[in-house]
């Protein structure tokens, strides 16, 4: 009989009352904030397949996301971004860009079905107040994928 490994689910919504670590955010969030991955510094020279924007500076969070799609495998082979927002917003977009490009890329359908909970888990948790930061990143990704599909003349998912 196979023993089921009880997969320890890291990543929780951080509840300050429970007494989390002394820094405001998890180590992973801190890392992605101070060393963000896949930032697009110059969009003029970047050939992208789809672009998406989510959020609004008046609300305090805004993300722009660019993707490159492998035409054969229909996987996201590259994902670049820029974010105006707090540490959670920057870390969430950075982590999202890693998630859709690691292990050779992510099938578009899977990318569209990504859930905020999955990003939060990978980040090791986010304060409840910052939940919307992970949702915003997904919005931008969705728009980027639909932008690509539109250009291809394909129907949106």
């Amino acid at each position: 009989m196979k023993k089921k490994k009880n997969k320890k689910i890291k990543g929780d919504v951080i509840d300050v009352r429970k007494g989390e670590e002394s820094w405001l955010y998890s180590k992973i969030v801190k890392d992605h904030f101070f060393n963000p991955r896949n930032v697009l510094l110059d969009e003029r020279n970047y050939q992208y397949d789809g672009k998406g924007i989510a959020g609004n500076p008046l609300c305090g969070d805004m993300m722009a996301l660019w993707i490159k799609v492998d035409p054969k495998t229909q996987k996201t082979k590259d994902c670049k971004w820029r974010t105006y927002g707090c540490a959670s917003a920057i870390a969430a977009t950075s982590m999202l860009s890693v998630m859709v490009t690691e292990k050779g890329g992510m099938p578009l359908k899977k990318a569209l079905n990504l859930k905020a909970q999955q990003i939060i888990e990978r980040l090791g948790g986010l304060p409840e107040l910052k939940f919307h930061c992970s949702v915003l990143g997904l919005s931008a990704l969705k728009e980027a994928i639909n932008d690509y599909l539109k250009k291809q003349g394909k129907a949106k998912f």
Partner: protein, 243 residues
């Protein structure tokens, strides 16, 4: 890159309020009709972006799940009074107009989905109400179990309507949970928080089912973890968070 302050207000239609129904103290259902044309087509479970024509909510836009089905005459949203925006919606008068954007979101059923488990926290029932009514209308063969968690019976929106559907539709089961009240009412099955134990009690086997979770942040995150802890695959879970 230009920043348009009107993002989200593009492609919006003007709708007029036709009916206002008080569901519970603090929750109302608003029923709208478009000023021009017909109601856009939508899939039960989707949401729409709402904004006011004037500045009463500081130009903010909010998302609300559609609680009506395409077969109904009106487009309905069910709103809980929490802050400035929802209060403004509660104060909307019959005949007043608002802007509603096209339906969005992927919190809907994909054919074919046979075994469905809906986990609703409080006002998270809104999209499920649309999905359930639609399945019932289509006389669907799907097996549906709704676990509906609320603090008190008074706050349980659509309590009567859901029980009515359950009576008429044998493959639809409602499990009502109350977390802050004990009632010896036939309609209430459990008096505790929704967790893996309760799910196993009623579903026995958690595998090979499609899960939909909708409610506040903590509710959705807790159940997401519970399901994964009990071996449910991520791709079988869809979430929608109200925040």
């Amino acid at each position: 890159m230009t920043i348009s302050k009107n993002r989200g207000k593009q492609n919006s239609n003007t709708f007029v309020l036709k009916q206002k129904i008080k569901e519970t103290p603090g929750v109302i259902t608003l029923k709208f009709l478009p000023v021009k044309g017909a109601i856009f087509s939508f899939r039960p479970g989707q949401f729409i972006l709402v904004s006011f024509l004037d500045d009463r909510a500081n130009g903010k836009i909010r998302a609300y799940s559609i609680s009506s089905i395409p077969q109904e005459k009106f487009l309905a949203i069910t709103v809980k009074k929490i802050g400035i925006f929802s209060s403004a919606l509660h104060n909307l008068k019959i005949g007043e107009k608002i802007k509603i954007g096209p339906p969005q979101g992927n919190f809907f059923l994909k054919d074919p989905m046979k075994n469905l488990v809906f986990l609703a926290g409080g006002i998270g029932i809104a999209p499920f109400f649309s999905i359930i009514k639609n399945l019932y209308h289509q006389k669907s063969a799907a097996k549906v179990a709704l676990f509906y968690s609320n603090r008190t019976k008074k706050e349980t929106v659509f309590f009567k309507e859901l029980n009515k559907i359950a009576k008429k539709w044998p493959s639809f089961k409602v499990i009502n949970l109350l977390t802050r009240e004990r009632l010896k009412n036939k309609g209430i099955q459990e008096h505790c928080r929704l967790n893996g134990k309760i799910l196993k009690k009623y579903l026995r086997n958690l595998k090979n089912k499609n899960y939909f979770i909708c409610g506040p942040i903590e509710f959705v995150n807790d159940l997401w973890k519970e399901l994964k802890k009990n071996g449910v695959k991520e791709k079988l879970i869809k979430t929608e968070v109200f925040y």
